[in-house]
């Protein structure tokens, strides 16, 4: 919670935290797609690909989401 707060206070663009049980993302733009092996989301001008198995969305809020499952990779591509 303190980390989240510092993110807002420091006016960071976004934050992706890899946790033992999933990925926590702050300040995302839009969640494009979610399937059992892939979650696709947009953050500003970046596309974030989260690959793995049994992936699903555990929590969703306006600027925050939590993706859980067996995460294999997180890719950030600029376009």
């Amino acid at each position: 919670m303190l980390n989240n707060l510092s993110c807002y206070l420091k006016k960071e663009d976004y934050r992706i935290s890899i946790l033992p049980y999933g990925v926590h993302i702050l300040k995302y733009t839009i969640l494009l797609d979610i399937k059992s092996d892939l979650a696709l989301l947009k953050i500003n001008n970046k596309i974030v690909k989260i690959k793995g198995t049994n992936i699903h969305l555990n929590a969703l809020d306006k600027e925050e989401l939590l993706i859980t499952g067996n995460i294999r990779s997180v890719e950030i591509n600029e376009y």
């Binding site: 979610i34 399937k35 699903h56 969305l57 929590a59 969703l60 809020d61 306006k62």
Partner: protein
């Protein structure tokens, strides 16, 4: 996310379908879990209506935050209302006086006190008064009945007022000039006699029986009574006592340890609910004080101070028991004597030793005052003419 949440459940195998619905409808959620074919997740309670239009078989499992409280109150409304009603009723009933008892044999005083109480609205089926009002009433009653009342206390015991009082006893000064004799208070041999007023009947070393006149209040001339006075004088004699004392070889004693324990508890209709310092013991002297006693509270806060005692068992030898018995025997006599009186001599008459105790019989010769005043029986007084 706000705390005003609800936990929902839906029977579905397709987790992603639910996630997509929530995403598309922009219904924010958290703690989405899939357990045994049922999907659980939390959403804001305001989004529930929107979601229930899409997912028909959705079920509310639990409410959180203010929505939880509102839901609980709605669900248990009758129970909560009855509880509040019963509580209010209990508070009201426990603050109503159902009986007033005035502890005195004097019916007139009882009537006067009850009139005072009535004036101050202290009556049956009326609300109890606070301590300040009771103090005022007590002060008023005492001030206005100075001649008849010594002390008054109004004590509240549950829903009853007990009025304890002490009547003022006005002692009339006794007429000091009533004719009296000085008689022997017990069988004795006179050892000292001084006559200040009256006629001396008995002399030194003379043996007197209980009730015999020693100094008479009758002044006689030629065997005829000429005046009746209050006889005055001092008479001391040798008095005899036989004292039997028994001391067990084994006895118990209580001794103060100096340790004190403070026990603070709630008194709820006679039941004790400890707040701090509970200590169960039989070897203590307890002193209880009321800390908080308000008419609008159904409980009282009490403070109990326990002074602890040490309990000891003593085993005496035959000789120790004999000395102890002698001491006790002598104390039983000397406790009754004043500074001028003393034990002349003593002698042990009997000494019986049993399996568990010793018994002794002691004979005492005691120097003590034996003269007491007694009214003179009525007899005609013949006055001498021409004197």
């Amino acid at each position: 996310m706000s705390t005003d949440l609800i936990l929902l459940s839906i029977k579905s195998e397709n987790l992603y379908q639910i996630e997509n619905i929530l995403l598309n409808k922009k219904i924010y959620f958290k703690d989405l879990n899939y357990i045994n074919g049922i999907i659980y997740f939390k959403i804001k309670s305001k989004d529930y209506e929107r979601l229930s239009l899409i997912l028909k078989d959705i079920k509310i499992e639990k409410h959180y935050g203010t929505s939880g409280i509102t839901h609980f109150i709605k669900k248990h409304f009758i129970l909560i209302l009855s509880f509040i009603f019963v509580y209010i009723l209990l508070v009201i009933l426990s603050n109503v006086i159902f009986d007033i008892e005035i502890v005195t044999q004097n019916n007139e005083l009882k009537r006067i006190i009850s009139l005072y109480l009535k004036d101050e609205n202290i009556e049956k089926y009326k609300f109890v008064k606070d301590n300040a009002t009771l103090d005022k009433v007590k002060k008023k009653i005492l001030e206005e009945n100075k001649d008849t009342l010594e002390w008054i206390e109004i004590e509240r015991v549950g829903t009853k007022y007990i009025v304890n009082l002490t009547e003022r006893i006005v002692t009339k000064e006794l007429d000091d000039s009533t004719p009296k004799n000085i008689v022997a208070s017990k069988d004795a041999m006179i050892m000292y006699i001084v006559t200040k007023k009256g006629t001396r009947i008995k002399e030194m070393n003379e043996i007197v029986k209980k009730g015999e006149v020693i100094i008479s209040g009758l002044i006689k001339k030629d065997e005829e009574i000429v005046e009746k006075v209050k006889a005055q004088g001092e008479v001391y004699g040798e008095v005899w006592y036989k004292v039997t004392t028994t001391v067990p070889f084994k006895h118990s004693s209580y001794e103060k340890t100096g340790k004190k324990i403070t026990h603070i508890y709630l008194d709820i209709f006679g039941k004790k609910l400890t707040l701090m310092g509970k200590y169960d013991t039989k070897n203590s002297m307890n002193e209880t004080k009321v800390l908080i006693d308000k008419p609008y509270l159904f409980f009282k806060v009490m403070k109990e101070t326990k002074s602890l005692y040490k309990y000891e068992t003593h085993n005496l030898t035959e000789n120790e028991a004999y000395i102890e018995a002698l001491k006790r025997s002598e104390r039983s006599i000397s406790d009754k004597l004043n500074e001028e009186e003393y034990i002349i001599d003593k002698k042990v008459l009997k000494k019986n030793i049993y399996s568990s105790k010793i018994e002794i019989e002691v004979f005492y010769r005691v120097y003590e005052s034996i003269g007491i005043e007694e009214d003179i029986p009525n007899e005609p007084v013949e006055t001498l003419e021409g004197e």
